[in-house]
C-alpha cells in the first residue's frame, strides 16, 4: 500500500522537476526574498548618517575662530570653502555651506546679532538631514552664547526658554532593520507556499484537465494513498524552498554591514536547525492547503486564481508585524503562519522563545494540516472528483 504511495510521490516529483514552471518557481523564489532583503538592509546601512560626522564647508572661517572651534569640538568636520558656494549647493555638490561675513567679529563684540549665512537647497530631500543638523548646531552655539551673556548680567538663562522641548526620536535604523528581519521571515514562510504551488495544482486540477485523473483512479490504489503521495511531493518541494531560502539568507546577510546599523541576526547552525524544525510543519500545512484548494478547482487556471488569493494568508502576519510590531504571546502560537512568523523572527533576533511555544506552534499546525488532508481525501473519495466538484 505504501509502495503505491511512494510510486505516486516519485512520479509527481519527477514530473515536477521536469516542468519548467514548477521548477522555476521553486528555484527563483528562494533567491528573490534574501536578495531583496539584503539590498534593503544595505540601503538602510548607507543612509544611516547618524554615526557619520557632519561635513561643513565654511567661507570666511577666519572671521569667527571661536565659532569654528565650537563646531570642531562638537565633531563637525570643517572643510575648505568651494569657489562658488551658491553654485555648489545648487548643483548638489554640497548640502550646506556656511558663510561667515567679515563684519561678524565687529557685531559680535558690539553685542549685536552677528549674522551668518547658511546656503541650502531645501527642495533636496537627501540634504535635509545635514541642513537640520547644521541649523541645530549653530543654534546650540547661539544659545550657549546667550546663556553666557545673561549669566554675565546676573539674569537666569531660563527666562529665555519658557518652554523646553525634549525630542525623543524612536526612528532608529535598528528599528527599521528589525522590521526588515520580519520581512526575511516572511519570505522564508512564503517559500513553503510558493515553491510548491505549481506542483500542487499540476497534481490535482492539472491532472484532471489533462484527463489523466480517471485512468489513475481506475488503478487499485487507496484514494488516501493517492492523496498522501501527491501531498508528499508537494511538501518536499515546499521544504526544499524553505531550506534554499534560509541558505541564501545566510549567504546574502554576509554582504550586509549588520554591525554598522546595530542589528544582530543569529543565523548559526543551531538557530537554522531550530528554524527548520518550526517551519517544516508549515510546509505540511502549505501542501495540504494548496492540494485541497486545487482539488476544488475545475481547471488549472481556476486553481491558480484561488491559490494566488490564499498566498496572501502567509504574507499577512509578516506585513502586519512590519507595520505594527507586537509582543509575542502564547496564544499566538495556536495560529499557523503567525506563530512561525513570530518564532522565526524571535530566533533570528536571538530572543528566547521557549519549548512551550515551539510545541504549541508545531502541534497546532500539524493538527490543521491533518484536517486539510482528511478533507482532501474526502474529496478524492467522491465520484465527482473526476469531473470537478
Amino acid at each position: 500500500m505504501f509502495n503505491q504511495m511512494f510510486a505516486i510521490l516519485q512520479k509527481e516529483l519527477k514530473d515536477g522537476l521536469r516542468d519548467r514552471r514548477s521548477l522555476m518557481s521553486a528555484l527563483l523564489f528562494p533567491l528573490l526574498g534574501p536578495v531583496l532583503c539584503a539590498v534593503l538592509l544595505n540601503t538602510v546601512a548607507n543612509s544611516s548618517t547618524r554615526s557619520k560626522p557632519l561635513e561643513l564647508s565654511i567661507v570666511g572661517a577666519e572671521n569667527a575662530p571661536s565659532l569654528v572651534a565650537f563646531l570642531y569640538t562638537n565633531g563637525v568636520e570643517i572643510q575648505a570653502p568651494p569657489p562658488d558656494p551658491h553654485e555648489a549647493v545648487r548643483d548638489g555638490e554640497l548640502d550646506v555651506v556656511l558663510i561667515i561675513p567679515e563684519d561678524y567679529g565687529e557685531r559680535f563684540r558690539a553685542g549685536k546679532s552677528a549674522r551668518v549665512e547658511l546656503v541650502v537647497d531645501n527642495s533636496r530631500t537627501s540634504a535635509r538631514t545635514n541642513i537640520s543638523r547644521s541649523k541645530k548646531i549653530l543654534q546650540a552655539w547661539s544659545s550657549q552664547l546667550a546663556t553666557l551673556r545673561l549669566l554675565a548680567r546676573g539674569v537666569s538663562p531660563e527666562l529665555l526658554q519658557p518652554v523646553a522641548i525634549d525630542e525623543v526620536d524612536l526612528s532608529t535604523p535598528q528599528k527599521l532593520a528589525a522590521s526588515l528581519l520580519d520581512m526575511i521571515t516572511m519570505f522564508v514562510i512564503l517559500a513553503a507556499f510558493f515553491c510548491n504551488m505549481y506542483l500542487a495544482i499540476d497534481a490535482t486540477a492539472g491532472e484532471r484537465e489533462r484527463r489523466s485523473l480517471e485512468p489513475l483512479l481506475i488503478n487499485p490504489v487507496d484514494r488516501d494513498m493517492i492523496v498522501l503521495g501527491k501531498w508528499g511531493a508537494t511538501v518536499l518541494f515546499g521544504a526544499a524552498g524553505v531550506v534554499m531560502t534560509l541558505l541564501f539568507t545566510t549567504i546574502t546577510m554576509g554582504f550586509v554591514p549588520l554591525e554598522e546599523i546595530g542589528v544582530r541576526i543569529s543565523l548559526g547552525p543551531p538557530v537554522i536547525g531550530a528554524i527548520l524544525l518550526v517551519t517544516m510543519p508549515l510546509t505540511f500545512l502549505a501542501g495540504a492547503m494548496q492540494l485541497l484548494v486545487a482539488s476544488f478547482a475545475r481547471s488549472f487556471k481556476e486553481a491558480q486564481t484561488y491559490i494566488s488569493l490564499i498566498l496572501f494568508l502567509p504574507m499577512l502576519p509578516g506585513i502586519a508585524l512590519t507595520m505594527n510590531p507586537v509582543k509575542t504571546e502564547d496564544w499566538m502560537m495556536l495560529v499557523p503562519m503567525l506563530s512561525q512568523q513570530l518564532l522565526v523572527s524571535d530566533m533570528m533576533r536571538g530572543d528566547p522563545t521557549g519549548v512551550l511555544r515551539h510545541a504549541l506552534a508545531i502541534v497546532s499546525t500539524l493538527v490543521i494540516s491533518g484536517l486539510f488532508l482528511w478533507w482532501t481525501a474526502q474529496l478524492f473519495r467522491k465520484e465527482t472528483i473526476v469531473f470537478g466538484r
Partner: protein, 242 residues
C-alpha cells in the same frame, strides 16, 4: 467474465443509464454499441467502479463492484473514454507508473514493459517524452499501461476514436489477440462496421437501456434485415431515440 445486472445511474435529475443488463464472457469480444449519449461511457464507468450505480450492480470475476471495487480493479484493465497520459514522462515511464500502482516492480515489470512495447510496435518512441506524440502513439501508451498488469478482463471505451486507418488496424489486431489469449474483452463504439467486424456478441444500448443483444446473426434475424446496419437502425429507431 463481466456480468452487469440492472445498472441504473442518475446524475441529479438526468438519468444517464436506465437499466443495463448483459454478460461478457471470457475468450470473447463483446461490443457495446449505441449512438452518442446512449449511456455507454456511464455504463463502463459503473463497471470499473469510478461511479457507483444507484440501482443494480456488476460482478467481474466474482467480485462485486459495489462491495469490493479494489478487487475488481485488480482484475480489469481499462482504456477510458479520455485516456490522458503524462506529457513530461516518457512512454516507458508512463507504463511503468501504472505497473507500480498495480504492485509490480523490478525485472518482471521491466520485462513486461518491454514485451508490451514490442507487441504494440512502439520501440522507436518508447524512451521519448510523450508531449509530441501523435494520437495513435498516445493511444498505444494508454493501452499498454491499461494492460501492464496482465488483466483477465479488458474494457475499452471507444478505443479507435480519432485514430487513422493504420492505427485502427493495429488496435483491431490487438483486440483480437486479447481474445485469443482467453481474456474477456468489452469495448464500446458507435461505429457499426467496427463492431460487426470484431464482435462475437453485441449489446445495443439506446436511451440508457439495452434494446437488443446477441451475435451479429441473431441481431439480423431479430430485426429481419439483411445487413447489420439496417438491423441497428431498425432496433434503435424502433425506440424512437436517434
Amino acid at each position: 467474465m463481466i456480468t452487469a445486472t440492472g445498472l441504473h445511474k442518475r446524475f441529479g435529475d438526468v438519468v444517464a443509464v436506465e437499466d443495463v443488463t448483459f454478460t461478457a464472457e471470457d475468450g470473447k469480444i463483446t461490443g457495446l454499441l449505441g449512438p452518442n449519449g446512449a449511456g455507454k461511457t456511464s455504463s463502463m464507468r459503473m463497471l470499473y467502479g469510478l461511479v457507483a450505480p444507484n440501482k443494480g450492480t456488476a460482478v467481474i470475476d466474482g467480485h462485486d463492484v459495489r462491495e469490493d471495487p479494489q478487487a475488481v480493479r485488480r482484475v480489469i484493465g481499462v482504456l477510458p473514454d479520455a485516456p490522458g497520459i503524462y506529457p513530461r514522462l516518457t512512454a516507458r515511464e508512463n507504463i511503468r507508473y501504472f505497473g507500480r500502482l498495480h504492485g509490480m516492480k523490478g525485472p518482471s515489470l521491466e520485462q513486461r514493459i518491454n514485451d508490451l512495447i514490442d507487441l504494440l510496435d512502439m520501440g522507436a518512441v518508447a524512451d521519448r517524452r510523450t508531449a509530441g506524440f501523435s494520437q495513435g502513439e498516445r493511444m498505444k501508451v494508454a493501452i499498454a499501461r491499461a494492460i501492464v498488469h496482465d488483466p483477465r478482463n479488458v474494457m475499452l471505451d471507444e478505443p479507435t476514436n480519432g485514430l487513422d486507418v493504420m492505427s485502427t488496424r493495429a488496435m483491431r489486431h490487438l483486440i483480437n489477440q486479447l481474445r485469443e489469449e482467453g481474456r474477456c474483452v468489452l469495448f464500446s463504439s458507435h461505429v457499426m462496421q467496427e463492431v460487426s467486424a470484431l464482435c462475437d456478441s453485441i449489446v445495443v444500448i439506446a436511451g440508457g437501456r439495452v434494446v437488443a443483444q446477441g451475435s451479429p446473426d441473431e441481431l439480423r434475424a431479430q430485426a429481419g434485415t439483411e445487413s447489420l446496419e439496417d438491423a441497428f437502425v431498425s432496433i434503435v429507431g424502433a425506440e424512437g431515440l436517434v
